[in-house]
Amino acid sequence: MLAKRIIPCLDVNAGRVVKGVNFVELRDAGDPVEIARRYDDQGADEITFLDITASSDDRDIILHVVEQVAEQVFIPLTVGGGVREVADVRRLLNAGADKVSMNTAAVNNPQLVADASGKVGSQCIVVAIDAKQVAPGKWQVFTHGGRKNTGLDAIEWAQRVAALGAGEILLTSMDRDGTKNGFDLGLTRAVSDAVSIPVIASGGVGNLQHLADGVTEGRADAVLAASIFHFGQHTVREAKEYMRDQGIEVRL
């Protein structure tokens, strides 16, 4: 049976892994290559890098990070952040990424999803959706770190990007991100049930039960977390053993 995946996420700023606490203070969490190797050793199923580098001068640093990681870590690598055109996708894949994630650029130009998946294959294209609840059972897509409402319905947008050729959806609840209160399970399940492509749940993980809930109640195909792994609260292996003990199929 296919295993549910656990994906540590590294936010990378100018070549260093950082993690925002309550959306503000960026804590340095270390060297991305070293951390990626540690997660690989712990049994991570994939690793996601989110490039949050603000300065365009430092944009190419992520390419070097990906190159170094890809020489030492032989599991799938996803990279997102700052992807605006097909050429950006190609650059990241050539550096060693297996999948490239796009968010705002897809909202601004949905054709980019079709163009990119047409060129490099759906399996390489992840669309990241940041969603906020606007009414009971209703979520809308936000950009700019949750500040800008696009007016798009999150479920309809997920179905649209799947039809355009996305191979996977990285779904983040902006209501939960950084809270440690667990995934928005209603959102996760609604999107996962609405599309035929895999959905990665993200945003809000504070303990191992939250990861298990994302799979069992949210019906996510994979769960993504950052801070519970970065600061030594849990290893990826502990997370997998916990999920296995709940009857969830994992790779151990």
């Binding site: 049976m1 296919l2 295993a3 549910k4 995946r5 690989d40 199923d45 890809a70 020489e71 032989f74 599991i75 799938p76 894949l93 050539n94 550096a95 060693g96 990424a97 297996d98 490099v120 294959g121 759906s122 399996q123 390489c124 191979g167 996977e168 996962s192 049930d193 035929s196 492509i197 895999p198 019906r219 195909d221 994979a222 790779r251």
Partner: protein
């Protein structure tokens, strides 16, 4: 030792090259679309990503057919993902004729498959799944039974001759996840992305003398 990775302009060949360099530091790993280089290589790998019809089109446009067919008859030969699917007679994706080196078709997973809990099985089949060897093979040496490998695909190979299937995987149905015949070995999963099990399989390939 020269290991040639066939480059026909599709997908990410870097990870296959890096993984081979990792397991065989003394080997010369060459990414090439030159038939002469394929003829001169000791071992040949045909990777593949994306749509089968695009891969076959680019592959044929580069005049690689004859050299790859020669390699498939004469030296250790590894196909990966679409590089496995291309070996078959016919693919449903884009109604594509393959190289017909292995008899069989490449149909799509049904979108109506369900899991034990009633949820629908996603297509593509993406992630880590168990590979059960149908028989012993030098390429599986040192790899535990039912080890997990990384898959990402929507179509699967259905060999006509059961003897060609060397491993199977469960995803709604039991499908053939590796084939082997003479010096040809091919996997639907990505050994280059399958951590220690995948590296072991690649290391076995480097040492395999069929």
């Amino acid at each position: 030792m020269k290991i040639a990775i066939v480059d026909y302009g599709m997908g990410n060949l870097r990870s296959v090259a890096k993984a081979l360099e990792h397991v065989a530091p003394a080997a010369q790993v060459i990414v090439t679309s030159d038939p002469a280089v394929l003829d001169a290589a000791d071992r040949v790998v045909v990777p593949g990503q994306g749509a089968l019809h695009d891969c076959m089109r680019e592959f044929l446009a580069r005049g690689l057919r004859e050299a790859v067919e020669r390699a498939s008859r004469t030296k250790p030969f590894l196909g990966v993902c679409v590089g496995m699917q291309m070996l078959f007679d016919h693919g449903e994706e884009g109604d594509t004729a393959g190289l017909a080196l292995i008899a069989g078709d490449v149909p799509r997973f049904s979108s109506a498959m369900t899991a034990a809990d009633g949820s629908h099985l996603k297509v593509p089949h993406m992630g880590w799944n168990r590979v059960d060897a149908a028989r012993a093979h030098p390429m599986f040496e040192g790899i535990e039974a039912g080890a997990r490998f990384y898959f990402v695909h929507s179509y699967y190979c259905a060999p006509r001759n059961a003897a060609d299937a060397v491993a199977s995987t469960q995803y709604g149905i039991a499908f053939t996840s590796a084939v082997a015949r003479d010096n040809i070995f091919a996997t639907q999963f990505h050994p280059e992305k399958s951590a220690s099990a995948g590296l072991r399989l690649l290391s076995n390939f480097v040492r395999w003398n069929p």
